[in-house]
């Protein structure tokens, strides 16, 4: 029973990682860049949600919507100002720019909202659901449910809509997509918008589970989710889900049964082992070498 309850907690944490990992994986799939600033978009989302819920006293759903809109705008603006001019530049230049954006957001947040931690309000009742001796917090259920809804919506969007197929086309071959009349720049902006919007949802879930809001809140979940995205095969949306869930479960189980301090060692160790067996992640595309 204790194992099952740990497993569910792991699924809850994994759901948060999965939603963040979607942002990494979508941006990588289409813009081929490692967006190191994604974790800090989460942090901004957390602050927006915090102020919307406490200072302006908005109810939960509008509060989350405000955070989603705020993060979407932030994502698009950052893409326009910092990444778009570097479309033709080397991937390392883009990486350094993303790091610059990350520093900027972290220090900006520190200036605006100070480094002292803020307590995120409880978003739903702290009760638990009991199923035959197994007790699950409502919050965990809500987190998992949100992840499922996000996943289903995103999969439908990518596979069934015209814009979704345009996105897939761009990730396959940008040049060919452009010849087919797809506005590649618009698609890239849209990808950043979706990824950042998801970051806001992840921020609310993250802060509901770990209720302290600080300017560096996003960096560790960001790195973990990035690991999750690579785990599942970066660029693959089902891979992000699988990677996120696995990472969450491994982290919680190793905390529960092996060592709290060494859980990060185990998480990163598993990543390395998986990449050695499957060099492009669990569900990643196989790289073929052309001679």
């Amino acid at each position: 029973m204790r194992f099952l309850s740990n497993l569910v907690t792991g699924l809850g944490l994994g759901s948060v990682y999965a939603i963040i990992a979607l942002g990494y994986t979508m941006v990588y799939g289409i813009a081929k860049m490692l967006n190191f600033a994604h974790g800090d978009v989460i942090m901004v989302g957390a602050y927006i949600a915090f102020f919307a819920l406490t200072k302006f006293g908005l109810p939960l759903i509008p509060g989350i919507l405000v955070a989603v809109v705020g993060c979407t705008v932030l994502g698009v603006v950052v893409e326009r100002l910092a990444y778009k001019p570097l479309r033709q530049a080397s991937s390392l230049s883009v990486l350094i720019t993303a790091i610059g954006v990350s520093y900027f957001l972290q220090n900006g947040a520190q200036l605006l909202w100070s480094a002292s931690p803020k307590m995120f309000p409880a978003i739903i009742s702290t009760g638990t659901l009991n199923i035959g001796g197994l007790s699950i917090a409502y919050l965990t259920l809500l987190t998992i449910a949100t992840c499922i809804v996000v996943m289903v919506c995103l999969t439908l969007f990518i596979n069934k809509t015209k814009t979704g197929s345009a996105m897939r086309a761009c990730s396959e071959d940008k040049g060919a997509a452009q010849l087919m009349g797809i506005n590649v720049n618009r698609i890239i902006s849209l990808t950043f918008a979706i990824g950042s919007g998801l970051a806001a949802i992840a921020a609310v879930l993250l802060c509901a589970n770990y209720p302290t809001v600080t300017p560096t809140l996003g960096s560790m979940p960001g790195i973990k989710a990035f690991t999750a995205a690579v785990f599942g095969g970066i660029g693959s949306i089902p891979g992000a889900l699988l990677g996120g869930l696995l990472l969450g479960i491994i982290e919680i189980l190793s905390k529960a049964y092996i060592s709290t301090q060494l859980s990060d060692v185990i998480v990163f160790g598993v990543l390395i082992v998986i990449l050695l067996v499957k060099p492009t992640g669990l569900l990643g595309k196989k790289l073929s070498e052309k001679v």
């Binding site: 990588y28 490692l34 190191f36 910092a82 001019p85 570097l86 033709q88 530049a89 080397s90 390392l92 230049s93 990486l95 350094i96 720019t97 790091i99 610059g100 954006v101 520093y103 900027f104 220090n107 900006g108 520190q110 200036l111 960096s219 790195i223 990035f226 690991t227 690579v230 970066i234 060592s259 301090q261 060494l262 990060d264 060692v265 990163f268 160790g269 990543l271 390395i272 990449l275 050695l276 060099p279 492009t280 992640g281 790289l287 070498e289 001679v291």
Partner: protein, 354 residues
């Protein structure tokens, strides 16, 4: 055709030697000026404390440039290697504290730190170098975090029965008169500060000698060939795995040497100092300096290391401005319009010369 200059100046500034002459020259001149200021007491306390760390970052950045610039493999775990060097150096110095005077002890600590880091670099390199591109980068990041987390849980102590270490605090007891060398998350405490600026500068020069001799040698050209075209390089008989490993291990070893010096410059040192932010900081130095360009690395490291200190007057805004400077530099140096402008200006200059 340009006429080759003869004599010693011609030798120092010909195509083969120009960049190293400039590198050594910059380091030696900077050292002489700073040492003179140091002797006459013209250096503020703030800068005094920055001298040794600056040389440490220089050595680590030179090493990283060998890996990222020359070998073309993105490494996000350089700080992990620095951590290995730092904590092994601290341990060695702690063990030898009573019996060996400071300067030989510093040298031994750096050598042990370097060798141990090279060994760990080799072990990590075996799995890492099987991967390519962004996957390789994320695995180096993972290893960096693993190393940092392991050291945060490492307990090393010295008592009458000898050197003891453990990863579990509960299993760790020291005998009468024993002392901790590394105390888990508290890190190394009570380290004697034996690092000196002169040692740092010598280390920078050694690092430069190593990388310049490597990149102009047969092995160095093999490393660059493997970077530029893996398959073509393989087809002419270059052992890709071996060349990549050489660059990776030397890069790690330099980071280890830098770490050992860094660790012995502070009386307390925690492992979390060497998280991925530090790796990224060093990567920023290398990329802004120019990949494969060691003069660029020297200048960029010193400027970017000092920049936050020079911006101190702006107080809270300094890191914000640092971030903006970073983004603007990237946008400006990658601006197509500006690039063609610079190229045409250069072309005109060369025409004028001819």
């Amino acid at each position: 055709m340009k006429k080759e200059n003869k004599g010693i100046i011609g030798y120092l500034f010909n195509n083969r030697h120009r960049s190293r002459t400039i590198s050594y020259g910059m380091v030696i001149i900077a050292y002489l000026i700073l040492e003179a200021m140091l002797r006459t007491g013209n250096l503020s306390n703030l800068f005094l404390g920055l001298l040794v760390p600056a040389t440490c970052y220089l050595v680590a950045a030179i090493g990283l440039n060998l890996n990222v610039g020359v070998s073309g493999e993105l490494n996000l775990g350089q700080a992990g290697f620095m951590a290995v060097g730092a904590f092994s150096g601290v341990c060695v110095s702690g063990v030898l504290a009573g019996s060996v005077p400071a300067i030989p002890r510093l040298i031994i600590a750096i050598i042990v730190g370097t060798i141990l880091t090279a060994l760990i670099g080799f072990l990590i390199g075996i799995p890492v170098l099987k991967l390519q591109g962004d996957y390789l980068a994320i695995v180096t990041l993972a290893f960096g975090q693993i190393v940092m987390n392991l050291i945060m849980n490492l307990y090393v102590g010295l008592d009458s029965s000898g050197l003891k270490f453990s990863f579990v605090q509960a299993n760790f007891t020291l005998g009468e008169g024993g002392k901790f060398l590394i105390n888990g998350p508290m890190g190394a405490t009570g380290t004697e500060r034996i690092a000196t600026f002169t040692a740092g500068v010598i280390l920078v020069i050694i690092a430069l000698v190593i990388v310049y001799n490597l990149i102009y040698s047969r092995s160095g050209r093999a490393i660059m060939a493997a970077r530029d075209n893996r398959i073509a390089a393989e087809s002419i008989g270059i052992d890709i795995a071996k060349t990549k490993m050489m660059a990776f291990v030397i890069s790690a070893a330099l980071a280890g040497a830098a770490g050992a010096l860094y660790g012995l410059n502070y009386s307390t040192m925690v492992a979390s100092k060497f998280d991925y932010n530090t790796s990224i900081l060093i990567l920023v130095y290398v990329v802004l300096g120019g990949l494969g360009n060691f003069n660029g690395t020297l200048i960029a490291t010193v400027v970017l290391f000092l920049l936050p200190q020079l911006l101190r007057g702006l107080q809270d805004y300094r890191m914000l401005i640092y971030a903006i400077i970073l983004i603007v530099i990237m946008l400006v140096t990658n601006n197509e319009l500006l690039k063609t402008k610079v190229a045409s200006l250069r072309g005109r200059k060369q025409k004028a010369k001819a």
